[in-house]
Symmetry: D2
Subunit: 366 residues, 4 copies
């Protein structure tokens, strides 16, 4: 039990890769918020497969149907429920999985946990497809945040061994973040995009796959979001972000690199600038003591390489209890990092709205 | 609101650095479990200050008083509450903090969040001292796990630029983990300990501080702990570990490094060994799809350098709204990494017990 | 935020009376449980309107579509999501509500709470229609309980001033409970059913409505379900039962009547019968200290009379801020008690399964 | 696991009747609220035993020690923890309980649930003594509410067969509620107090005990507290109130009586009075659709008669598995209703504050 997260805002995700549908229930949204469904669709399209040579050939219309929660175009206080039908599911592709768990997938662990009753088709509930409803939820939250001056934006910071440029963590702006979201490939530098696409294409040609790191920023945050200790911004974002398949690492601000610095290098001095208290540097990534400092939020998530490969792999037969081989697999993403960029944004936006609601300072009706 | 974590097991921590006491309430422990309080004290002593040249001069007896939850030496089904009195608190040391927030501390964000009502003495509720009751809770959970064959153990993987050796993530044993916990300085390699102590001493001499990375393992886990999506082992551990002050990064298995690999390098092939399904390598860190695979759990947490310095620092005066300087500070840890090692273990042990209870498969009365 | 309840089992309900659909997500069901959807439909039919002269003329097919959570006819560990389309919604009927709140409905309070953004059509999210997905959830849980020997059953104990007979709270059997569920009108005594129907018909003829009391039993419970204090069976059932519209009172065992007795009359002596510890009487309603005693669970819920009337009522105009009158309303139930009987059963079944899962003693795969 | 309740405000209670101490952690209080500890003590004294002929002879100083959460007399944003030492515990009194469960107590169910590991002394964690920390929490919350115009007050509505007068549920005032709290015996009518005391004395003389009904009001509430469905005010209050030992029934407004009325009798017409929307009658008890209407909150809780008797009772021997008798017991309350009056107030105050915080409309710094 835990396909949901949030406190004041509860986001419950359901569905399996090949069930009749997948969807999300968002309970606790502020009432009276206009939701632009075209904008939501545009957000979701950034995650949709089939848009680039880097992604799976599976086509999904992925038009969410709103079942409840909107009335005359605005949130009405009731849970917002949206469903996406699963139309392009070819179950036959996945028959062998029931017996031969794919390395680095949830097939084996789910099989044991659920006593063999789990839905094995396409990864079942553990499929990356379940990030579509998360994007729906995040897109809705992002609109509510944007109306109040908060913008969340991410980019593919590395893919394999290729690095993108980064934004200045002190001065990064909403416009800069938005500019990345309009690009066909989510990098700051177009040259990096080309290099990454080349690296992905090369891996694909070998039947292999790539991972990478996604860096995400949020600007316009008030000071004071986040709760002490286990309710800190880091922990709350982590709960959501580690819920995204393939995320195996997460750091804030200077993160792992910062742990190699001295305090005198890593500490961010406070300064008064234009009557506002800011920090000169932003190694803390906008979070001090688990609470937002008003500086840009900065985080990076490590995405493991796609487990499905166009190569034979070693596995076991669950029924025979002996070693086995898994044949090369077709339709899949050689690198999900570009598609995961809006998913990370979605998770972060949802958590930030939840924390703002929890703070008791959320400006209703703004 | 969130000085607690857990689902079936709720761990609620309270206290401020200089309040009358600090403590913890652990609700949901299985009943009938003998608790060895000497062993708990030994665990807590690993976190206690004043044990080494690397730690603060503040002495704390830190003997927890058990208020409830034990009956005739065993857990009795009622919440286990323990209190540690704050005896060695010198409030005078911290007077200026109320006006001049320390860089990289929670002083500024807490001041804004709580409208100036927060307890500024020694960091208040945001003090690292609050990890003492977490260690108490973790020590209790660790005993219950150990009785069922699960051992959690960590070491200082890096401090500043000095690396420790690591254990083999496939073959690491409970004995190996326990051996580190008995050392005065928590490294695998004694040479690393010496080098780290030297690096810390050098930083201290400069009035500076160090951070580092703590690596933690758990062995003996059953297959199937963890829940899907946001209830995965990674997310649940993250909620607890990011609740520890100074943690700014967390990765599992091959983590950030793994994101630079190809799928063919990072995937862990399944094999049948002695009739048991295992993986040949352990880049997944014992977690697939958020669920334990039965392989050793492997995680690393990035600890930022101690913010308090024996150097003048730049800050602001909250009352004057202008720039200010903070004089060098005395009594503090130049590097908290060694003391944080058992704290990470505590958080991990608590989460693992919680997940096991939540799974419905916890063997009561074992 | 709170259209959900449960701990190990999270039941999230969404929808408005006239939104595109209503539904439920059940997260945390044990995996591998066969679900008989015909039986679920039969359970839901007991709540469906249009079956008797006592209920509304609105016809609803109310066939739930399963979106996820079942695989090859069994629960698969993923959240079980079901949606019911709203097809027979005549929005025009409800236009005036936006300005003139109906007495004893949520129109006024929802209007203020949501700043006028609430969906006013047919009561929106506060409609009794939302009990259909609750029945779906309860029917699923009841099957899982029945497979393990637990039966939940209720009857209309009073409607207006007419009383039904009751079962003996010590000896009541599963067969007795099931026999009521097969009747067209949910009473133990057929004579009571006739009298109740007559009383309802008389009220309807006057344009008035009736309330009543529903009594619910559960038999076959193990000893030990329920948690201390705020997690007691009474409180947990109350959370679910008070979530059903129109419930304004709830009592367990001898309840309010028992509060007029002396201890020597109300205490239930323990006895050993056939090697099993039972009580001679059952004033405690199967719960002692919040924990099941193994005796039948007994509870009664007070249902207020249907607020909608075929009479003119006094209200206010929200836009004009002055007194107003509400014309008589058509299509409605003059008494919802009979239809609420399975709803109470559903809530109780869901809570009992949740508590069993939480206890750690749930027999998986039974 | 569930010795806690609340959402934005988490109240965790710990302790056993004869453990070293009992206490409470209140997490989520708004920061900056002055707390008058003398007033808290006065509130708690109303619950304390030994004040009247109706209560137990056990003397308890019950002075709570504040461990954390207050700084310079105000809440500081950190969890507020208070501990009450158990000083007057005579364990010897209770030795036989381990083998012979007392009828109508939790002895038997706790024994089975915890496999015999539960603390049997004085009822352990199930003791009425655990309501002392709940009163502490409620007294703190009541001060925060009172500062914002909300007053909660209760009275002994019936004891055994003696009724108290009631307040008019439409016009009841804060002053009326406060007047009861200052009386030595918590009734509106002094004549009722005398009659109740006589009825209790008579029962005591027979070695018997009495129960009763407590009626509680809250005035000054804003419109709009409470969440839909399972988060309604009724359900949330029920969760807290059923956590109080001996509560076996709960109703709101006209409650069970209202279920016998017609809709035309039970519906409360809306009216505009002095520009404010009110209801002419208050059968809804201040809650419509689970949400506060601004009218006085009205609820009644049924308290079962004290189980402990100065009479021999029938029970069983757990060790022998055969019938047994329990000798008459000494030190106990023949009627806990008067002492339970502030406990009900405490639970209601805590829930109302929690709901206000959850609403996002709580006026900080009022």
């Amino acid at each position: 039990m835990s396909s949901q997260f949030g406190h004041q805002l509860k986001i419950s995700i359901f569905g399996q890769s090949h069930s009749a549908g997948i969807g999300v229930v968002i309970d606790g949204l502020p009432a009276g918020e206009p939701i632009d469904l075209d904008e939501v669709a545009a957000f979701m399209a950034r995650r949709a497969p089939g848009n680039s040579p880097a992604s799976t050939a599976r086509k999904e219309a992925d038009i969410p149907q709103i079942l409840s929660g909107l009335y005359e175009g605005r949130t009405c206080g009731a849970p917002l429920a949206a469903v996406i039908a699963n139309t392009d599911a070819r179950s036959g592709d996945y028959a062998a999985i029931a017996d031969k768990p794919r390395p680095a997938h949830a097939d084996f662990t789910a099989h044991v946990k659920y006593g063999g009753a789990n839905d094995v088709r396409g990864g079942g509930h553990f499929s990356g497809r379940l990030t579509a409803p998360l994007c729906f939820a995040g897109a809705v939250c992002a609109q509510i945040l944007a109306r109040r001056g908060i913008t969340v934006g991410a980019h593919a910071a590395t893919i394999g061994t290729t690095f993108d440029e980064s934004f200045d963590p002190v001065t990064v702006t909403a416009d800069e973040l938005r500019s990345v979201s309009k690009k066909p490939f989510p990098t700051i530098s177009d040259a990096s995009a080309e290099a990454m696409l080349a690296e992905i294409a090369e891996a694909k040609a070998r039947g292999d796959s790539m991972g990478g790191v996604i860096e995400c920023f949020a600007v316009g945050l008030p000071v004071g979001l986040g709760e002490p200790m286990f309710g800190g911004v880091e922990g709350r974002i982590a709960e959501a972000v580690f819920g995204i398949p393939a995320v195996k690492g997460l750091e804030f601000g200077s993160g792992f690199y910062g742990s190699t610095l001295c305090g005198s290098e890593n500490n961010d001095p406070f300064r008064v600038v234009d009557g506002r208290i800011v920090t000169e540097t932003n190694n803390h990534g906008g979070i001090l003591g688990g609470i937002t400092s008003g500086m840009p939020l900065v985080l990076r998530a490590a995405i493991k390489p796609t487990p499905t490969l166009m190569q034979e792999q070693q596995t076991v037969s669950l029924s025979l209890g002996e070693n086995a081989t898994l044949p090369p697999k077709g339709r899949h993403d050689p690198c999900i990092v570009p598609r995961a960029v809006p998913v990370i944004e979605a998770a972060v936006a949802a958590v930030l709205l939840d924390l703002w609601l929890e703070s008791g300072d959320f400006p209703k009706g703004a």
